[in-house]
C-alpha cells in the first residue's frame, strides 16, 4: 500500500526521491561554492530544452534528443539563475549554501501576485505547499523582463531540499 501511495504521490507531481533528471551538486563542493549551484527537478522525458539553451556557461549539458532529461556539469555552473527564469516548468532553482554558515539562500522562480519586493515577508512552501518557514525576500531579479521573477529567500540550511516556492504573506496576516 505504501508503495502504491508513494507512486501516486510521485504521479501527482511530487518528487519522492532521486531520479534521472533530478540534478543536485555534491554536498562538500556545494557548501564551498559562492553564488550557489542549480538544482533541477525534471524527471519526465518531455520535448523541452530551454535550460540548456539559456545556460551561458554550458553547465546544463547539450541534449542529444530534445526529450532527454537535463544533466548538469557542476564545475561550470555559476549559479546565474538564467535557467531558473527561463524554464517553462519552473523546475530549476539555485541554492547558495556559502551565503552564511547554516543557511541556504534559495533563488526560486515566482510568477504570482503581488509583485515581489525586497523586504516582503514570505511563507516558504515545500513540494506539497506546506508552510515550513517564514522568511523575508532578500533580492528580486527579473532576468528576461518577462514577469518570471527570481526571488532570493534565506532559509535554514536543513530546509534546502524542502523549500520549492514562496507565497507573499498578506499584510493582514502578518
Amino acid at each position: 500500500m505504501d508503495d502504491r501511495n508513494d507512486a501516486l504521490l510521485y504521479n501527482s507531481g511530487v518528487l519522492t526521491g532521486p531520479r534521472d533528471g533530478v540534478c543536485k551538486a555534491e554536498e562538500g563542493q556545494w557548501k564551498a561554492k559562492r553564488g550557489g549551484y542549480v538544482v533541477i527537478e525534471c524527471p519526465q522525458r518531455i520535448p523541452c530544452n530551454p535550460c540548456h539553451t539559456s545556460c551561458p556557461t554550458g553547465a546544463v549539458l547539450p541534449f542529444a534528443d530534445i526529450n532527454d532529461v537535463p544533466k548538469v556539469d557542476f564545475s561550470k555552473c555559476t549559479g546565474c539563475c538564467r535557467c531558473v527564469a527561463r524554464c517553462p516548468g519552473l523546475a530549476c532553482f539555485v541554492v547558495d549554501l556559502a551565503w552564511k554558515e547554516g543557511w541556504a539562500m534559495m533563488k526560486l522562480p515566482y510568477e504570482q501576485l503581488p509583485r515581489p519586493q525586497k523586504g516582503m515577508a514570505v511563507d516558504c512552501l515545500d513540494r506539497i505547499g506546506r508552510k515550513v518557514y517564514r522568511s523575508v525576500i532578500e533580492q528580486v531579479l527579473e532576468p528576461f523582463k518577462d514577469r518570471t521573477f527570481v526571488v532570493s529567500v534565506p532559509v535554514p540550511a536543513d530546509l534546502k531540499d524542502d523549500v520549492r516556492a514562496v507565497k507573499v504573506v498578506a499584510h493582514d496576516a502578518e
Binding site: N11, S12, E41, R45, C48, N67, L125, D146
Partner: protein, 363 residues
C-alpha cells in the same frame, strides 16, 4: 465569385504558420478565422511554452501569437486576413466554399488549395448537476480570465489533470482564485509532471483515481461530490465533498473536422488522436488532393507541433501551386516534428498518426 490561391481556415498557431509559410514562398493567401481576433488559443496562453528555440520555447503563448502576426504583417501584400468569418460549407462539385461573416454577410470563394487548421472542440462529461451555472469548460475559463480579465468564481474544482487542466489551475492561482483541487480518473497526471509540480507546491491537491460524482447546489454550483475509483474506473464507494462555486472541466478535446468530411476526405476514427481525423500523407495532404490539414484538426496535440504542422501544410500547398522549393526548410520541419514527438509522452501521438498515414508525399 472570388478566386484565391490558398484558403487557410483557422487563425491559430497552425493556420498562422501555414499562411506565413505559403505566403513566404509567394502564394497569395486568404486567412479566415471565426473569432474576433487572430491567434486562436495562443492569445489565452500566459504560460511559457516547451519545445526548442524553433518553437519559441520559454516564451509565453500570447507573445508567440504576436511573433507570428508580425511575420504575417511583413507579408501583407500576399495575405489577407478576415476575422469573424466562418467557413460554413464546401461544395465538392467544384471546390467552392461558402463563408459567413459577422452574421449578416454570406459569400462564396473558390480556392485552388485549402489548409484546414480549424482546431478542436472541448469535450464535456455527464454528471448530475452539470447544467448548473458555475460549470465551465476550461477554454471558457481561460478566455474569461486571460482575454477579458474576468474571473469565473472564487473557488474552483478542476476536473482533469491533462496539461490544460493543470495549466488553467495554475493560471487561476495567478489570478488570485483558490483552486480547491484537481480530480483525475487516471493513476497519473496526463499533463507534464513539471506543470503538476508547480501547482502541488502551491498547495493544490491532485486527486488521482477520482472522478466527479455530482455538482451540488440548488440554483448555482455550491460544491461537488468527488468519488474514488479503482483500477477499472469503478467507484470504490469512498467519496468526499468539496466546497466550490466553480467546476471547470478539462477532460479533453476532439478535432474540428466537419469541413474535412464535407470535402470528401477519407476519415478515420483514431482514439489516440481523440476523434475522427483525415487520412493524410507525410506532408499532411489529405485524400482530397486540394486539401491539407494541420494542428488539432489533424489530431489533438501540442501548439508547438501545430506550428510546425502549419508550416509543413503551407509549404506543401504552395509547392503544389508551383511556388519554388525550399528543401532545407522542408527537411527542418520534418526533423522538428520528429524531435517533438520522439519522447514517451508522444507514444500515443506516434501510434495514432501511424493509423492514418497514407502513401505519397515523400521528397
Amino acid at each position: 465569385m472570388r478566386e484565391v490561391e490558398l484558403l487557410v481556415i483557422g487563425g491559430g498557431p497552425a493556420g498562422l504558420s501555414a499562411a506565413a509559410e505559403a505566403a513566404g514562398m509567394g502564394a497569395s493567401v486568404l486567412l479566415v478565422d471565426s473569432g474576433p481576433r487572430l491567434g486562436g488559443q495562443l492569445i489565452k496562453q500566459t504560460h511559457k511554452f516547451f519545445g526548442s528555440r524553433d518553437e519559441f520555447a520559454g516564451t509565453r503563448g500570447f507573445k508567440i501569437a504576436d511573433v507570428l502576426l508580425d511575420e504575417l504583417k511583413g507579408l501583407s501584400d500576399r495575405v489577407e486576413a478576415m476575422i469573424d468569418t466562418t467557413v460554413v460549407g464546401y461544395y465538392r462539385e467544384d471546390g467552392t466554399v461558402s463563408l459567413s461573416r459577422s452574421e449578416d454577410e454570406y459569400f462564396l470563394v473558390k480556392p485552388k488549395r485549402i489548409v484546414v487548421a480549424a482546431g478542436a472542440q472541448e469535450r464535456l462529461i455527464p454528471f448530475p448537476g452539470n447544467d448548473l451555472p458555475g460549470v465551465y469548460g476550461a477554454g471558457a475559463v481561460q478566455t474569461l480570465m486571460n482575454v477579458y480579465g474576468v474571473v469565473p468564481g472564487k473557488k474552483v474544482l478542476m476536473i482533469g489533470a491533462g496539461n490544460i487542466g493543470i495549466i488553467v489551475a495554475y493560471q487561476l492561482i495567478q489570478a488570485g482564485i483558490e483552486v480547491a483541487g484537481v480530480v483525475e480518473a487516471m493513476p497519473r497526471v496526463g499533463g507534464y509532471w513539471v506543470h503538476a509540480a508547480k501547482i502541488r507546491r502551491l498547495g493544490v491537491p491532485i486527486h488521482l483515481m477520482h472522478s466527479i460524482k455530482r455538482a451540488c447546489g440548488d440554483k448555482v454550483v455550491e460544491g461537488a461530490d468527488v468519488m474514488e475509483l479503482d483500477e477499472r474506473f469503478n467507484p470504490t464507494g469512498r467519496e468526499f465533498h468539496v466546497e466550490c462555486d466553480t467546476i471547470c472541466l478539462a477532460v479533453g478535446l476532439t478535432p474540428t473536422v466537419e469541413l474535412l468530411w464535407q470535402a470528401g476526405c477519407k476519415m478515420k476514427y483514431v482514439p489516440q488522436l481523440c476523434g475522427y481525423v483525415p487520412v493524410r500523407d507525410c506532408n499532411l495532404r489529405t485524400t482530397n488532393h486540394s486539401v491539407w490539414v494541420a494542428g488539432d484538426s489533424s489530431g489533438i496535440e501540442e501548439a508547438s507541433s501545430a506550428m510546425v504542422e502549419g508550416r509543413l501544410a503551407g509549404y506543401g500547398a504552395a509547392l503544389s501551386l508551383g511556388y519554388g522549393e525550399r528543401p532545407d526548410r522542408y527537411l527542418s520541419f520534418i526533423k522538428r516534428l520528429e524531435n517533438l514527438r520522439a519522447g514517451e509522452v508522444c507514444d500515443k501521438i506516434r501510434s495514432g498518426i501511424a493509423c492514418v498515414l497514407c502513401e505519397g508525399g515523400e521528397q
